[in-house]
């Protein structure tokens, strides 16, 4: 491991020196935990002039892209780290609260399938955000801040973004079908939910909007004063903005605060009000509910995939095994949503 860290630090020094000019020194390189298909590393960089930066490296796991959404959908995976870097550049230029992209390493440095971005300090663990005294003030502002940032995301002019896949209801149902088929024997509850979704799909929006695609408590970086950044844009696509609002309201991201649908921070009504007040346009509660159902199916299907990857020996771990037994919770949630 130490040898790998040294190699990686050297490669980062080469890439950043290229990008920024002058000799850059890399220190305190540590891998952060989590990530089934991607590695995240934190490090510090010091320029020749003495300026210091706190940075993050996002890097594809070896073989990780084979586990990605595009691979599951049978699509060519155009959305690689270079595409994600281009998206971050556009998001940052549009003034959204995202880490500033710093460098897309030249593969000649030995680094590929990765990019470097600014490291924003803050807390991301949902349980801490929902429970710790240190975030009491932040909590009182979170529902409004989440509604407002959703409105800003959905308001980005698509023409100012790099090309993103369009993921309408039909394509997402295909994805869920494919994941569930890969995930094991047919499950009556998911079959019922897929049929319900086919029957209750909202009409397509006139203009597809930028959708974060994984908009949930767990991808928000928060300081004591409130929301600082929205992370993890790898599922970003064009589609129905109501998808983000629905996904945010899933039960697994409430961490016990079940009456507060909006990520455990506030009620659906508060979320909708803040979204509309921030210029997000009129919320369609029926469409939000639809995306809650489809989002729950998608989350449950992803859990069956993680368990199947364990069962067929691709990625064995006690965590993956445990996830297989959490699928019942998503079935239970679906029955509540449909019943």
């Amino acid at each position: 491991m130490d040898a790998r860290i040294e190699t990686l630090a050297g490669q980062l020094e080469a890439a950043l020196s290229n990008e920024l000019g002058g000799r850059v020194r890399v220190g305190n390189l540590v891998r952060l935990s989590g990530g089934a298909s991607r590695e995240t590393w934190a490090f510090d960089a010091k320029g020749a002039g003495g300026g210091a930066m706190s940075l993050i490296l996002r890097k594809d796991f070896e073989g990780g892209r084979a586990l990605g959404l595009a691979a599951l959908m049978g699509e060519p995976d155009d959305y690689d780290r270079a595409a994600e870097y281009a998206l971050f550049q556009a998001l940052h230029a549009a003034g959204l609260p995202v880490p500033r992209p710093v460098c897309l390493p030249d593969p000649a440095t030995g680094l590929s399938d990765c990019f470097v971005m600014e490291r924003i300090e803050g807390e991301g663990l949902p349980r801490k955000l929902l429970r710790d005294e240190a975030f009491a003030e932040a909590r009182s502002t979170m529902t409004a801040a989440i509604g407002a940032v959703a409105a800003r995301i959905h308001g980005v002019e698509p023409g100012k973004l790099p090309q993103l896949p369009l993921r309408d209801v039909a394509s997402q149902l295909v994805l869920c079908r494919r994941m569930l088929d890969l995930g094991g024997a047919p499950r009556p509850v998911f079959e019922l939910a897929l049929r319900w979704c086919a029957d209750h799909a909202p009409g397509a929006a006139e203009t597809p909007r930028l959708v974060h695609g994984d908009f949930r408590n767990g991808n928000f970086l928060v300081g004591p004063e409130g929301l600082r950044a929205v992370l993890d844009w790898e599922y970003a696509h064009l589609g129905d903005p109501m998808e983000d609002l629905g996904f945010l309201c899933l039960k697994p991201w409430r961490f016990g605060n079940h009456a507060l649908h909006a990520g455990g921070f506030g009620t659906r009504e508060e979320l909708f009000k803040s979204y509309e007040a921030a210029g997000g346009g009129a919320v369609d509660p029926e469409a939000v509910r639809f995306w809650e159902v489809l989002g729950t199916v998608k989350w449950g299907a992803l859990c069956t995939i993680r368990a199947a990857l364990h069962l067929n020996g691709v990625q064995r771990s006690v965590e993956a095994a445990a996830i297989g037994r959490r699928v019942a919770e998503t079935e239970f949630d679906l029955i509540h949503l449909l019943g």
Binding site: P188, H258, A322, R325, R326, E329, I335, G339
Partner: protein, 121 residues
């Protein structure tokens, strides 16, 4: 328990391993391996609840499917027939009965996998 199974039986063996993991291994571990020790303890409690509750829950589920489908068959046959019904059948006329069955089945699975989830409501 028949003679063919000596004690500690399977469930009691799992309990011994749980205690070892929690009381002996965990304090000696750190980082991700320690986190995984907690997950492993949880997996063993799930397995023990499955040994305890699984047979009765599976039996009750099969009986409900027979009533719902109005036919007999192995659990696998019945489940396949239920999936066919849900994919292509007329659901409106037996929506409540179907949902009641699915709710009971899901609750049973959760009683094995994570009983606290039911308390959460």
């Amino acid at each position: 328990m028949a003679m063919a199974i000596d004690r500690p039986d399977a469930a009691e063996l799992l309990e011994a391993v749980e205690e070892y993991l929690r009381d002996r291994a965990l304090p000696a571990l750190s980082g991700h391996a320690a986190f995984e020790a907690r997950v492993a303890v949880n997996l063993l409690t799930i397995a023990r609840r499955e040994l305890d509750l699984g047979p009765a829950l599976s039996g009750a589920e099969t009986e409900r499917m027979k009533r719902l489908l109005g036919r007999d068959g192995s659990p696998e046959d019945l489940e396949a027939a239920l999936v066919d019904l849900i994919r292509e059948g007329d659901l409106a006329s037996r929506w409540d009965e179907l949902m009641a069955h699915l709710r009971q089945t899901a609750e049973g699975k959760i009683r094995i996998a994570n009983p606290k989830y039911l308390e959460d409501g």
